[in-house]
């Protein structure tokens, strides 16, 4: 057995040099185990890669589906909001304006539904292995990011056809995405363990996300709502995210300070709460999954 030589060396090392793990009951709030996550980053990659690969296995069109969905929605919205609703889009072509919002939205809705369901979908990993639980929802989000990249590439082509080329503002694409990810990761980490306990989450979520789409400035600019709604608008962190995302892509008006502050504060809050509740829930999740 040639392969055992490497381990034999490890075994021969004095036992004192081996890592010692203490297994005991813990209670209360603990810091999330981020070191563990870094150590297992390869597994994160493998799980995300599996998600992407499996999604397009045995589909004829493969990744075309990723661009087809926002495209189809864009056509419907053009009809409903532009032709019938006469929405004004800051001087930008409606189709391009709408597709920019939908490109982000498709990513967000897919990541939030799949991420929240990830622990249940991977129950085997939870109950039969000790892999860091945090990896599972994060890998799910990472898989959705790959689709997002494809969707974004398609958006650039589509926008170019209509004569919209990236400006210097494109450098703010990454910060606005990070802003969206902060919030996204937070709610996924909050919902994923909850879904293990109450499967109601997986029933309610797709529906809520659909409502959320219409409450967010995806198919219309936030300015078209008028000042009366501004208080409610400020509570939706995605307003700031989508407005800054679209600003970086198309040069539409940037988000207001209130919208941006809301996105940052609520995003960080969700992130913090998600991470700490997850660290607390993950310890007993194997008993419920």
């Amino acid at each position: 057995m040639a392969s055992s030589s490497s381990t034999a060396a490890i075994v021969k090392a004095p036992p004192g040099e081996l890592p010692v793990t203490t297994i005991r009951s813990t209670s209360g709030w603990l810091p999330p185990r981020l070191g563990e996550l870094w150590h297992e980053r390869q597994l994160l990659y493998f799980l995300a890669w599996r998600d992407v690969k499996v999604r397009y296995a045995q589909t004829v069109l493969g990744a075309v589906w990723t661009i087809f969905q926002p495209l189809a929605l864009m056509l419907v919205f053009t009809l409903a909001f532009r032709r019938i609703g006469k929405v004004e889009t800051e001087g930008v072509n409606y189709a391009v304006f709408c597709l920019a919002g939908l490109t982000f939205w498709m990513f967000f809705s897919r990541a939030v539904t799949q991420g929240s369901d990830s622990l249940v979908a991977n129950a085997q990993l939870v109950t039969k292995t000790s892999c860091p639980r945090l990896l599972i929802p994060l890998a799910s989000i990472t898989g959705a990011l790959v689709d997002f990249a494809v969707g974004l590439a398609f958006f650039f082509v589509f926008a170019a056809i209509y004569g919209y080329w990236p400006s210097w503002r494109i450098i703010f694409l990454v910060p606005s995405l990070v802003l969206g990810l902060t919030f996204l990761v937070g709610i996924v980490l909050l919902l994923a363990p909850l879904n293990v306990r109450y499967r109601d989450v997986r029933q309610a979520l797709p529906f809520l996300v659909q409502i959320w789409l219409f409450l967010s400035p995806v198919a219309y600019p936030i300015t078209s709502l008028g000042p009366r709604w501004s208080a409610i608008v400020a509570l939706n962190p995605l307003v700031g995210v989508i407005e800054s995302f679209r600003w970086s892509l198309l040069g539409t008006p940037p988000p207001t300070a209130v919208q941006l502050a809301s996105a940052i504060v609520i995003g960080l809050l969700a992130f913090g709460v998600g991470l700490t509740t997850f660290a607390r829930a993950e310890r007993t999740i194997a008993d419920l999954a």
């Binding site: 392969s3 036992p15 793990t21 297994i23 005991r24 009951s25 599996r50 000790s130």
Partner: protein, 431 residues
Amino acid sequence: MTDVVIRADELGKRYRIRHAGPSTTLTESTRAAFARLRRRPPKSDFWALRNVSFEVRSGEVLGVIGSNGAGKSTLLKLLARITEPTEGVAEVRGRVGSLLEVGTGFHPELTGRDNVFLNGAILGMKRAEISRKFEEIVDFSGVEAFIDVPVKRYSSGMQVRLAFAVAAFLEPEILLVDEVLSVGDHAFQEKSLDRIHEVTRSGRTVLFVSHNMASLLRLCSRGMLLEQGTTSFEGPIEATVERYLSRRLSVHAGGELLEDIAREGTGTLRFRRVSVSSANGLEPRAGEPVIFTLELKADHPVSARELNLSIGIETRSGDRLVTLWNRFDPTQTIRAGLIQDGTVVTCTVPELPLRPERYLLTLYLDDAGDLVDFVPHQIEFEVMPTDFFGTSLLPSATQGPVLVRQQWRLGSSLEVAQLPEVGHGTQRAIP
């Protein structure tokens, strides 16, 4: 002692059971939520494991024995850090690899190659390590020709072989293994057992859970017997196995099964009484007709939709020899119907081709796929000797347990090759 690599001190794990069962759909949970407003569902505590203390030294192979529900798997889950103990402490020195299931994370849509990498990563191997061992893994599994085909096109045997092969090349300092050797055909099981044996000889510490006494005896040096969540015996593996076997409920004609023996299933029906007897109600005899009689207990009459009843006969080391199943009976008399308390099921075997020996029974009952009652190898019965061949000879213990009638001849090659036409009267005379 410095070479202790696992030290468990008073480990315990408690589960809370809500009798209503977890509600997993919206309507169910809404209804449950309203019910909860009025009255908390009854909860009860169940200690899957309690006061378990032991030490394992470096290079030792500890066999963990116990009937179903004794806490073996819970113990492994605690040591593998899948779930936390409720009380107690364990200290583990070195990297732990756990093999609680083969093929965790295997995805049917991915190719064999993809799955090897994915599963390897899940088991804790680094990508470079998997690449290095890839050839060996594929070679061991014997599915080289299909390695780039999606796993869903594999036979279940091939899937399991590939999955085990990945696990077989896992090399942590401490390996936790739960009953995974019972996969694949016999030849592959032998190969897997050899592989685990090799691993143990290379100085790794192994905790091994199995129902198969033969493999426990072969692999382990020490044994620990768990009963109802606590350690009831610890010592050399031979003594532990002996102890375990002697604890089993021994049932002969008319034996009643206790309600609290290790069993699984919904329990709407329970096996209450089992007897194994000859046609005239005496002890079963080798090569003669045998009647298995199962009496069922039902708190309420159960209207069964599609009954599956099965009786397994095993050697005392747990190897399955025979499976009797109502579906194997061409007349298909037992299918569905109302089953009341005291209903008796019989299965008659015209000839029981087993050598005189003590055997174990496993009883199984499901209704349209829902497991109702399952009592794994806890009932013992003995087959009495007869002059089966009419030669006053019977196979010895090393010659295998199965009795097969046989005819031997001597003649020219052509005639020997001719099969005797049994049952059709005219047999060729030997010149």
